[in-house]
Subunit: 659 residues, 2 copies
Amino acid sequence: MPMEEGRSRVVIEGVAPEIDCGRYPIKRVVGDKIGVEADVFTDGHDSLSCVLLYRPAGADRWTKTAMAALVNDRWRGEFRVTELGEYQYTLEAWVDRFKTWRRDFAKRVDAGQDVAVDLLIGADLIEATIERAGADAPQLTRFGDLLRSGGHEALQAAQSDELTDLMSRHAGRLFVTKYKRELGVWVDRMKARFSTWYEFFPRSFGTDGQHGTFKDAEETLPYVARMGFDVLYLPPIHPIGRSFRKGRNNTAAAGPGDPGSPWAIGAEEGGHKAIHPQLGTLDDFRRLVDRARQHGIEIGTDIAFQCSPDHPYVKEHPEWFRRRPDGTIQYAENPPKNYQDIYPFDFETEHWHELWEELLSIVRYWIDQGIRIFRVDNPHTKPFPFWEWLIGEVRRDYPETIFLAEAFTRPKVMYRLAKLGFSQSYNYFPWRNTKSELMAYFTELTRTEVGEFFGANLWPNTPDILPEALQIGGRPTFMARLILAATLGASYGIYGPAYELCVNQPLEIGREEYRDSEKYEIKQWDLNRPDSLSSLIARVNAIRHENPALQSNADLRFLHTDNEEIIAYTKIADDQSNQILTVVNLDPHYVQSGWLDLPLEDLKLDPRHPYQLHDLLSDNRYLWQGPRGYVELNPRTVPAHIFRIRRKVRTEQDFDYYL
Amino acid sequence: MPMEEGRSRVVIEGVAPEIDCGRYPIKRVVGDKIGVEADVFTDGHDSLSCVLLYRPAGADRWTKTAMAALVNDRWRGEFRVTELGEYQYTLEAWVDRFKTWRRDFAKRVDAGQDVAVDLLIGADLIEATIERAGADAPQLTRFGDLLRSGGHEALQAAQSDELTDLMSRHAGRLFVTKYKRELGVWVDRMKARFSTWYEFFPRSFGTDGQHGTFKDAEETLPYVARMGFDVLYLPPIHPIGRSFRKGRNNTAAAGPGDPGSPWAIGAEEGGHKAIHPQLGTLDDFRRLVDRARQHGIEIGTDIAFQCSPDHPYVKEHPEWFRRRPDGTIQYAENPPKNYQDIYPFDFETEHWHELWEELLSIVRYWIDQGIRIFRVDNPHTKPFPFWEWLIGEVRRDYPETIFLAEAFTRPKVMYRLAKLGFSQSYNYFPWRNTKSELMAYFTELTRTEVGEFFGANLWPNTPDILPEALQIGGRPTFMARLILAATLGASYGIYGPAYELCVNQPLEIGREEYRDSEKYEIKQWDLNRPDSLSSLIARVNAIRHENPALQSNADLRFLHTDNEEIIAYTKIADDQSNQILTVVNLDPHYVQSGWLDLPLEDLKLDPRHPYQLHDLLSDNRYLWQGPRGYVELNPRTVPAHIFRIRRKVRTEQDFDYYL
């Protein structure tokens, strides 16, 4: 005989969202409404009540909100998260005797049956409720007496909304079933979802080919701000190792003037908490952070947990590295390739506790300098438990911190990093180019469970990746890929000025590295070149800021088009006030045209009235009616429309009669 | 800093099968091979090893078997269950340093690199293994010395299969990750999956309209056995209540000669442990059970946990029933309908412990009489925790017991009952008639997670259900629905002789109850009517017994046909030795013909050679080649083919050159 209560008859199962049986929280941003569904049912025909419970993690009390039955034993409730940090939610349900009685009573009355005994049963249920009804007790007593009195007044009282409300307020919750897990929500700030990133190498902004400084970077802020970026991510700003330093185009031996890769961290001058002397001082850096903020830009820095052979750790903490039988330290390798300029940490060292604490102290150090956005280099080559711990530790004190995972790796590894805490992640966007590739991938990212925890940040290029499509397609593809990134993803970023200047020469044919990559040399950029895409980028980013639909991925839907080179999709703001339809010609060579099918019902468009498509890129307007419309896009001008859909709201021929 | 080992770097997730986070076991039968898959991965590029652990529940030791990597970080392993009862399985994985070293070593050798230091690293790994290598220690010592010697012999030794095997056998399992759940398998006997049921009312087999007895039922056993049924299920055999007894056609007042419904259990003569005096004695019943066994038939009885007002429990245990304010006992109701002849138990009574124990004692009583198959009436009107407990208690001592849930209820309720222990369940088959309905429903039952726990038992009719399709379609539909049930379901049953005699008069148009239902009166059946379907049924059941493909639902696949009235599907035996293709004309009125597409690859058929379709119903043979074939079926003769697919195995024109 089970010791537990055998009379808890309600089942709660199939709760969604729920990631890996509650092992990980779902992710949301402050202000989000969270819909929770579950299968809730019992034996027999009794009526149920079901509540959703939620609270900021650690709060003493749950807030409860009623759930409503949908169809097929599915129930739904909602709550809103209003603070940064962790929330919890769970469910409770019970057989509701009064609700059951009330429903059956109505059926009996409708069938003209004698309900004398039923009135007494109802009165008993009321009586059992009185003791916990507080101020409502007298009212309930009155109802109880009425029901016992029988007659016409009793019938009315039994079926009154007031009695139903009172009984629901003080419901018995007899033999309540509590869902066996408390599920988590991690609540980020809005920027974790909606952010527009620009990456540049400060050292390339010096005058006359000199090594650029933080002060030079300050001068570049207005340019970045004009384009509408709100995160400026800097590659590592630390001293660069000299041993085995890489030369131009990643050659094994650096020339005397070669600056080295910023990711070869650590030299005599210091390690992960030091600043490269040629960039400036810590004060210069803090000033850059402040100035950026004045331009509406947040500086993000790089966390690359690896060392050059010259890093102070190598001497101070040899126990954090793996030693080879010949006494040398194990360098990075991906056999048969060897990377002698990089020493990875040995996360299997007996001293892993100390190593973890030191790495955390690096993040804390930069937090103390005002940084709250970190782009993490290759997180998939360090243990998952380490990241889960580190991000947890940081966020306990600084829940506003955003971590972007540079996890260009296998899908399950990428998703695991997102589950354990990374707010955003690089992803396969650079290699999803055709219509079917894009539709399949973004359906996976936004319309499956992945959307509950994975925050995609779309980069059409990075210093490491010049995708084949950009090499081949040139300027039309640079435009198209930027618009795709900016409209498919609430977060996206570019590595510039290489992007806006359409740099597309690979190291060699068949490779995706840049020729004369900025990773290994100091570049000079002509930001004012007339063919720069900076104005288009500024326009696109302004559209993103003005249209809430583009600030989330929750409601991305692809439309059918009859041309394989034309992709079209809608995004709709939560409150339906803003609807964006993006149409892109993926072909960099030819004008493409075709018909697309609009889901009028989803868009709440009346098939009997025309609606307006306002192209926010060109400012042209089109009048459509019904579900099909014609588009034609020339890749040489602008290969896309970003339409705001405007519904007619007045019948008069006013000037602005569309909303 | 977490207290747990931060160096356990491997992740195990996405384990399948796993029902509701391991809350419920999957189900299999003795002899089954169970395939287990999981996502297993770690950070970086290290090689993994992964093992599947399994044991009969409660055994001290796990048996371990290696899992193999598929693609995309998915791993798979298998084990076989050989005993009745519960098994457990779980997984372990670890970063395998030697495997990693071995893989990288080969790459370095291929690239012509200096591997002197790598040989020393390998030797160190071997040395660390020696202490746990037992009898293999000297062998490993020899390998270690060889590797340290350097030179050509060392290269060969390092890459030898012998060394790989030795190191794998004594693998370090450093920082092993154990999957956090132990998952269950409930292993039934084969009959839980593959069973052929016949239901009849013994009282209708008396001579000259007398109330039939168990002795009369004995006489009928050869008839049932000839048709090939292996379970004979009897409606309740207990004394029938007199108060509020229902008359013919479910009328409220019974006439003096009306026998009452067997489901109104309990009278002066006794309750659930008593036998209806007119059926015979307990000895007669035990003799029927024995005789049936001699015919290869197992008797199944009914568990209907409800009481007539005359049941002894009502006086002896009034605390097990709910009392109304007027002092009467609450009868069954589904407002506005009232069922005064039935008292449900009050499972919310304070005395629920005693009630549960008593109900269990009823099952135990019939187990003592030799019964191991129970058809449970309306289990969805009693609490889920009760059934989980009761089935668990019974199976601890009698794991061979089979419970069939008569759960004609909502899908999630039906599935929950299956998860908590019912071996088989009634289901929506009676109301799935068109091709698209059948395909959608049986895809859900067999190709989703449902197949892991839900054992469908298909009944084209029951004493309560005469589906509209049978009323309308007559004899052709009786043939088609029987063949569908017998080939779509490894378990199926009919309520006879009403079925084989094609009884199809409803109580009234638009109702699914039988007119003059056997539930309320004693019938007389002419079993020898020339239009009886008994020969067809015998043929179909013989085919089921001879063809293993039809004894499981695991590999049901629907084929494309170009005619909406023709449904076609294959079943393939586990070892591929038996392949059955069933084709049914769903139209009772017209000859239908069409082309169907065979998946040659799944069937391992060579498109370059003909193959034979041997119709096991008609014994006709057809020679086909390639993926398309023509069928034509006349509903007036037999509306189906049950083809055994025979591949040509010899090139000579021998007599039996097909297998």
